[in-house]
């Protein structure tokens, strides 16, 4: 993965830049000792590392604005960082960049049950937003699997999803307002506790812009009353096609489960060895969860089981109590851990039209054979968001490159059948160079034009989202203007 050469004039001005940052932040909020900046050299995409010039940990919107104003004046790239859990390298520094971490900004600013909103600083973790309202039986719906650690800032940057977004939507559907600091230090308020925008939908534009348009410091989020209950059912099938057809039939029947999770045989076997959840030995497994009162759950599960029976399941297991429900989820929830136990793995995130599921799984199987690397599939089937896990050995020479090449093939396959490169993890650096497979030059040009408006010097979160070749002219002219 190529990154742009660091701006040597920034590197030589490090002392002056650090001094200026120290003039607006407390001493312990500016990290510049090379031994300490190492802590920020990567996010959860650990294959790529580069210590930043410095890292700052502002505590208020005003401090963020002061930092950005200085970096704007000095022409220093800024990499915003939530909790550093990006799987796409969304917070990977460059050597000439300042990491702007929001970790110290984690307060709940206002909880408003009458209007069903919560306002938080964006360094707060996803799960702790729910934590702040659950004593009143409310919750924040988007639930990425890193929710214990990941920050709202990163959720907004990547427009994160989760297992339950089939019913509740992703971050952008649950975000009502933000306080955002632009690269030149201008603070803007967008949206609020009211619905929809009075002008252009800048809120929708900012959500998912991977920290390249501004630094979001505060967010107004929609909170919802918890359902009365939830219960999963597990189904095993003897082919991926049949499981895929079952998913489609459930949706067509007018049912809207909160989650439909799919695991294929390699994944079932690995998790079974690891977690011993008692999953059936079969080709494909679905976990379908519905919500409501006991009677409502019974009614929905009754219909779902009726549909499943038409597809000759090898196993149907309905949870009778919380214990059995937990056992059904056990394997799915430990799938990634199980893979990590066997091997290094790379987790992909393409989305496909649900109808293409059987074909795509078959092709992935073939590609897996061609590359000689095992692929296990676990994903959100209701919305077609796949998470193929490619197993490889990072210590074996050439395996990482081979794994990346297979990953690229699979993502291109997703695009080919009418899907996309990334459903919820974001482009980051990981899928940056594949953007040309999804978008024509004019399509990318339109997106880059948006960045020009918000960040004319192209300083925010450099080298992410757009292929370097596509953004080169802009980056060079910004540099020349310095």
């Amino acid at each position: 993965m190529q990154m742009p050469a660091p701006d040597s004039t920034v590197l030589t001005r490090k002392a002056r830049i650090v001094e200026r940052l120290l003039s607006v932040l407390p001493a312990d909020a500016v990290i510049h000792d090379p031994a300490e900046t190492r802590a920020y050299e990567c996010d959860a995409l650990t294959a790529y590392r580069c210590p930043p010039l410095a890292a700052v940990l502002p505590a208020t919107t005003e401090e963020v604005a002061a930092v950005l104003r200085i970096c704007h004046e000095e022409g220093v790239p800024v990499v915003p960082r939530g909790a550093g859990t990006s799987l796409a390298g969304g917070a990977l520094p460059t050597a000439d960049s300042v990491i702007l971490g929001v970790a110290r900004m984690n307060a709940v600013l206002e909880t408003d049950y009458d209007n069903r909103v919560i306002r938080v600083q964006t360094g707060r973790t996803n799960l702790s937003v729910t934590g702040a309202v659950e004593e009143n039986d409310f919750f924040y719906a988007p639930d990425p699997s890193s929710q214990l650690a990941c920050a709202i800032a990163g959720n907004i940057a990547m427009n994160s999803g989760g297992a339950h977004c089939l019913k509740y939507g992703v971050t952008t559907n649950n975000l009502l307002g933000v306080t955002m600091v632009q690269m030149d230090g201008t603070v803007v308020e967008i949206g609020g506790a009211h619905l929809d925008s009075g002008g252009l939908d800048l809120l929708g534009l900012i959500c998912g812009s991977e920290g390249q348009l501004g630094v979001v410091t505060e967010a107004t989020l929609r909170i919802l009353r918890k359902p009365e209950g939830a219960r999963p059912v597990l189904m095993g099938f003897d082919s991926n096609e049949v499981a895929g057809a079952c998913v489609s039939d459930i949706i067509k029947a007018g049912l809207l489960p909160v989650a439909i999770e799919f695991m294929d045989r390699p994944c079932i076997r690995a998790t079974e060895d690891f977690a011993k959840a008692g999953y059936p030995d079969c080709e494909a497994l679905l976990i379908v969860e519905v919500e409501g009162s006991e009677a409502e759950i019974d009614e929905q599960l009754g219909l779902i089981l009726q549909i499943a029976r038409r597809h000759d399941p090898v196993e149907l297991r309905e949870a009778k109590d919380a214990d059995e429900a937990a056992r059904i989820w056990l394997g799915r929830k430990s799938a990634f851990g199980a893979m990590g136990n066997i091997n290094d793995y790379m987790c992909l995130d393409g989305t496909i039209p649900v109808s293409e599921l059987p074909y795509v799984l078959r092709r992935i199987g073939e590609l897996s054979g061609e590359y000689g690397l095992e692929v296990a599939n676990v994903f959100h089937a209701g919305d077609g968001n796949m998470h193929p896990l490619i197993l490889f050995d990072a210590n074996a020479p050439g395996q990482l490159e081979k794994c990346e090449a297979l990953g690229a093939e699979i993502l291109k396959l997703c695009v080919e059948v009418g899907g996309c490169l990334t459903g919820e993890h974001g482009v980051g650096i990981e899928k940056r160079d594949l953007m040309v497979d999804q978008y024509a030059p004019d399509d990318l040009e339109a997106q880059m034009a948006v960045k020009d408006v918000f960040d004319d010097k192209w300083l925010l979160n450099p080298a992410k989202v757009f292929p370097l070749a596509a953004s080169e002219a802009r980056r060079m002219s910004a540099l020349a203007a310095e």
């Binding site: 952008t172 201008t186 002008g199 800048l202 009614e299 989305t351 109808s355 919305d383 004019d442 339109a446």
Partner: protein, 378 residues
């Protein structure tokens, strides 16, 4: 208007390529128009998009539909109904309120981010938008998003285009997520509440686990007294269960339950289309606010008639012609749109300086000649 555009075939494109050509060749401002039902006009040659018509993809099992921008909304709703599905955001039909005729198009719905009572629970048009194809102000065809439900590949220009009222580009095709049409629906009605009591009751209902998909208050119903309305939808048994749970929850009030499908549908169609303000003299304003602010804002507005939707978060107000609702409202969390009116007040709420600068910057990039629906939104 229709006759005029028929005389200028270049401005009634039938393909995306023709649409691009019409924009590229334009010598002056263009007024983008679908069915022409939403009362938004500007100076310039009418660019009629109705020739770009037809559903291009519909997969009920994937909850996905794509259509050319000029496709009549009726055609889309009929196709969905045949499969037991619907557009969840319940777009309003503006003809009664605005006194317009013609057939609303899906492009018009998307350009205006038009959403109805269910927006409160299910989300707005923008929340169901999966992809767009559009022609920018230079005549370049651009696509963004796609046809899948989860997509974070690059910037979300789909949201930017939705609700941009044609100021950044002319839509050629849109794709949407659709949802199943529920088996049953019921409406709970409470009479006699004042606005503050109604907003409180609606807040409590929204804070319950019973999935309210509509919460509105009419301070002066046809029967002459205030009525507060709550809608629940789903499988029949579930609707019945939730209706009785809500009745128990609001035991202090007398709660009537309407479960005749026709009557429920009609009640919410009248809320959606703001029937009570049809044909009345004066200007119509639409105010999006924090629901709990609605009683105070209603006092400030002193409207001649009003309707509260979205649990109070949406106020429809009838004011004497020429009245500036924004002046009456003062400062609050939200914005006011003049939906129908006379005089020279801007239809859309002027934005704070920093936001206006960003909006102008986007307009400059997407439509450097400033020819697309000039002066309407940006």
């Amino acid at each position: 208007m229709a006759i005029e555009t028929m005389n200028k075939p270049g401005l009634a494109p039938e393909t995306e390529a023709q649409l691009a050509e019409a924009v590229r060749d334009a010598k002056g401002p263009l007024c983008l128009q679908g069915g022409g039902t939403r009362g938004v006009t500007c100076d310039g040659d009418v660019l009629d998009t109705r020739g770009l018509s037809g559903i291009t993809l519909y997969e009920p099992g994937a909850l996905t539909l794509a259509a050319q921008a000029g496709t009549p909304l009726d055609e889309i709703e009929a196709a969905l109904r045949a499969e037991g599905q619907r557009l969840p955001f319940e777009p309003m039909d503006p003809r009664g309120l605005l006194g317009t005729s013609g057939a609303p198009t899906i492009g018009g719905v998307v350009a205006g981010n038009v959403s109805g009572p269910r927006r409160l629970q299910a989300g707005a048009c923008r929340d169901y938008m999966l992809g767009v194809r559009f022609v920018d102000g230079m005549g370049t065809v651009i696509k963004n998003g796609g046809r899948v439900m989860k997509n974070v590949t690059g910037y979300d220009l789909v949201k930017l285009m939705t609700g941009s009222w044609g100021s950044l580009g002319a839509l050629s095709e849109v794709s949407l997520k659709v949802l199943p049409r529920p088996e049953a629906a019921a409406c709970l009605l409470v009479d006699g509440l004042d606005v503050a009591q109604a907003v409180q009751l609606m807040a409590e209902a929204m804070g319950s686990p019973y999935e309210i998909t509509g919460a509105a208050h009419d301070p002066e119903s046809a029967a002459g007294q205030p009525v507060t309305m709550l809608r629940i939808e789903g499988f029949a048994q579930s609707v019945a269960y939730r209706a009785s749970a809500l009745q128990a929850m609001f035991g202090l009030h007398e709660v009537r339950v309407e479960s005749d499908p026709e009557a429920v549908a009609d009640t919410w169609r009248r809320v959606r289309d703001v029937d009570k303000l049809h044909g009345r003299d004066g200007d119509v304003w639409r105010i999006s606010c924090k629901p709990s602010d609605a009683p105070e804002l209603a006092l400030r507005l002193q409207a001649e008639a009003q309707l509260f939707d979205w649990a109070g978060g949406l106020i429809w107000a009838l004011l004497p012609a020429g009245t500036d609702a924004r002046e009456r409202l003062g400062a609050y969390d939200g914005y006011a749109t003049q939906v129908r009116g006379t005089g020279d007040l801007p239809m859309f709420q002027p934005q704070p300086a920093a936001i206006a600068a960003l909006s102008r910057g986007l307009k400059q990039r997407f439509d450097p000649r400033g020819i697309l629906n000039p002066g309407i939104l940006v």
